[in-house]
Amino acid sequence: MEAARTVLGVLSGKIDSYKVVDGKHIIVDVKHEHLADVVKAITDELGGIYTVIVGNDARKLDGFFHSIYVFSLDSMKTYLLVRVRLRPELPEVPSITPIVKGANWGEREVKDLLGINILNHPDLRKLILPDVWPDGVAPLRKEFNYQSRPQPSSSTCYVPTRSEDVVTLPYGPYHPLLHEPEYFELHVKGETVVDVEYRGFHVHRGIEKLGESRLTYNQVPFVAERICGICGFVHNVCYCQAVEGAAKINVPERALYIRSLILEVERLHSHLLWLGVACHVLGFDTGFMHAWRIREPIMNLAEALTGNRKNYGLNLVGGVRRDVSKDSAEKVFKILKKVKEDYSKFVNGLIAIRELTKRLEGSGVLPSPDAVSYGVVGPVARASKLKRDVRVDHPYAAYGEVSFDIPTFSEGDNMSRLMVRVEEVYESIKIVEDLIDRMPGGPILAEDIEVPEYREGFSGVEAPRGEDVHYVLTGKYSKVYRWKVRAPSYNNIPALKTMLYECPLSDAPLTIASVDPCFSCTDRLLVVDISNGRKFKVSLKALANGWKP
């Protein structure tokens, strides 16, 4: 394998061993003292872009904790997984955040969920777990029962620093701008944002733990689909591909076409939804309503193809559960023709409104080098001059069979991010029509599927918001031993810090919306005590029982 030779050439002397997974992805084993050198070589010499960090409690397998750093080598069409084995009694690993900004969250997550200590990290506050989660309890370790509920500790909470001339504007956890709970704290001087604090994961649902402890490998896709309320099918496909890669299952061609088809339909309705939201944030509600009017036939299309507007429940490891009928395929052309007409009319009108475009141009800029360092994905990356698209960089499903363009813009501002999505809708329509035209016959589900124990699989899917990746390590009794999900917004949101710096307050909501952040339903509450600015996370039950700070 060409890519493996190049990688080994660059990293020779620093790695212990390597293997190739699924004929595509390269896994190298590295000692933790070499980690920084290896990461530097990957980013500088191989052009690798940070993707995700996967932590794994593999003590039952080889006696170690694993920390796996994943980089996308776009030009070589491969993912490079760098595995560091950590001592079980005191798992410690040096931070790579000083080299790759994007790794900040990944390292904090590994610390939160697996109790792996990160050395020299610039900011080790809790990320995923609530502030009152007791220290030393790591929920993704295998000895932690998924049903246990530890007693809250009284650790100190985050208190914002305030100065006289800076106004702190809280955006969230509930704010008309945000359709899901998340918390942005904008520090505003006059009308300019000078800093931003972020607190998310109000809705951490422990889906990975659930998948590892309760579900069998064919039940996971249905839970995976519920990770996102808009582009759930993406997670579903991504998980199945990772398992199929690990188990070396050949998926029938027709199933691959159906997956691509539904993925594109999902991209269509997601982009139209975003366009509507962007108009709403700009105060242009007429555009909002009309974007959603145009979106509606696409939802009907999804229903005609799969039986559901959302949550199709279509995928299984090895293929899909239901076929696309000939009638519904014919419907597609009719609906798409009308959508295309309405859409181009709408978009041309939208871009012609100077008041709107004036606000979009030059605001929320993400320069290309920062985009690389944060490892941003999807439309956000493509608006900052990075020609990244999993459909082309790591071809999957039936995307190798169709041709399409990747719209790329170089300004990195809100206008570019809008234009990327606007153009992608046309491309998606083209892809859907192409797929239906070329769809082959045959079976839709592989037969005699066997998933061997302890095999690794890694897969990426281009979601509407960018690259979504799943890592799977298969386990015993038809279960997965480790399942790691990284949604696209995970890499895009940290880049907001750069985008929002010195941004006018009026454009801040637009900039936040421009990365199309995606979260989910809530289960906790943030309370601010006005008298001293302290914040508490309180359960609804405690609040109902008359909780007092």
Binding site: G283, R293, E355, P504, S506
Partner: protein, 323 residues
């Protein structure tokens, strides 16, 4: 005689065309705006209360004032808020007595000064809404409102001055609102002055009443309602009544002074009344079309736009005084 005059004045101030009329017209105006914006946005708009949902705004206000509980937050000056909104509403009601549609008319030379004074009260009341709370959104909203109004209010005043000067050139009561409206005539000069001052008065009205693209102080998706973020229940109900009364008031003044009211017919004619209503509705339609076809601008964009509005009104004033 004196008693009957007092009675008439009270009736005019409280019932027609004062308080009650303004409030009812304001809520009807709200219905029309909501219905039309709804239709333009591919929605139905108000539907359930009354024929075509015409009573929906009334139902909303009644619910807010009588059904919803009164919530207040620490540091909010509720009484001040209510006092100033009432004062603003009162000022607008009494300003209506200067117009020819009032049975009891206050008229005299230069009464436009008093009229402008009363009009400014509504702005002050709105500013107080923002300043009476310590919510950061409200603070940001009110600082935006004050920036915006600093430019919009002068445009409003200069254009109304220009129009009344031009319209009362040959009158015995110069710069009188009543004379300008009741003895409306048209000449080349008046047409030029009115055209310019109408444009600037119209845009300043939009800016003053926070209609898009100038809803910056309210900015739902940025400031969660800004100025109005802290209001709820009865106070919100009062703010809505006050806000739409202000819109109706400014639209009435525009119709009477800049569009000639019932011209070419007279006040009191059935035909004149029909013409008046048609003009009023057309003006609202124009406002709503603007509202529905643009997004929100940034504060500095708004200020640079309103600068030209002031320039237009100053040109009208120069035209009116020099020729």
């Amino acid at each position: 005689m004196v008693y009957s005059e007092i009675l008439l004045a009270t009736f005019s101030a409280l019932i027609y065309p004062g308080l009650l009329f303004l409030v009812v017209l304001g809520l009807l105006t709200q219905w029309y705006m909501r219905k039309l914006v709804g239709r333009l946005q591919n929605r139905i708009g108000p539907k359930y209360v009354g024929p075509l949902g015409i009573a929906q705004p009334f139902a909303d206000v009644i619910k807010l004032v009588f059904v919803k509980e009164k919530l207040s937050s620490k540091g909010r000056l509720d009484r001040l808020l209510i006092l100033f909104m009432t004062l603003g509403l009162g000022a607008l009601s009494s300003a209506m007595l200067f117009t020819p549609i009032s049975p009891y008319v206050i008229r005299g030379g230069y009464d436009v000064i008093a009229f402008i004074y009363l009009m400014i009260w509504s702005t002050i009341a709105f500013a107080v809404i923002g300043l009476s709370s310590s919510n950061p959104f409200t603070i940001a909203g009110s600082s935006r409102f004050l920036t915006q109004i600093l430019f919009a209010e002068p445009a409003l005043i200069i254009s109304i001055l220009a129009a009344t000067i031009a319209l009362t050139k040959n009158s015995t009561t110069p710069l009188s609102i009543y004379s300008s409206a009741a003895y409306f005539q048209i000449s080349a000069l008046i047409a030029a002055v009115l055209a310019l001052s109408f444009i600037s008065f119209f845009l300043a009205t939009i800016a003053k009443t926070l209609i898009k693209p100038f809803d910056i102080p309210e900015a739902e998706t940025e400031l969660a309602g800004g100025l109005l973020a802290e209001l709820s229940g009865p106070t919100l109900g009062l703010a809505i009544v006050f806000h739409y009364s202000e819109i109706a008031f400014l639209a009435l003044i525009t119709t009477m002074i800049f569009l000639g009211g019932p011209y070419p017919f007279n006040y009191g004619d059935a035909l004149g009344m029909a013409v008046f209503i048609v003009k009023y509705v057309l003006l609202l339609t124009l406002m709503i079309t603007v509202k529905a076809s643009v997004g929100r601008v940034r504060v500095e964009q708004a200020v640079s736009m309103i600068k030209y509005v002031i320039l237009t009104s100053v040109t009208a004033l120069i035209l009116a005084t020099v020729f």
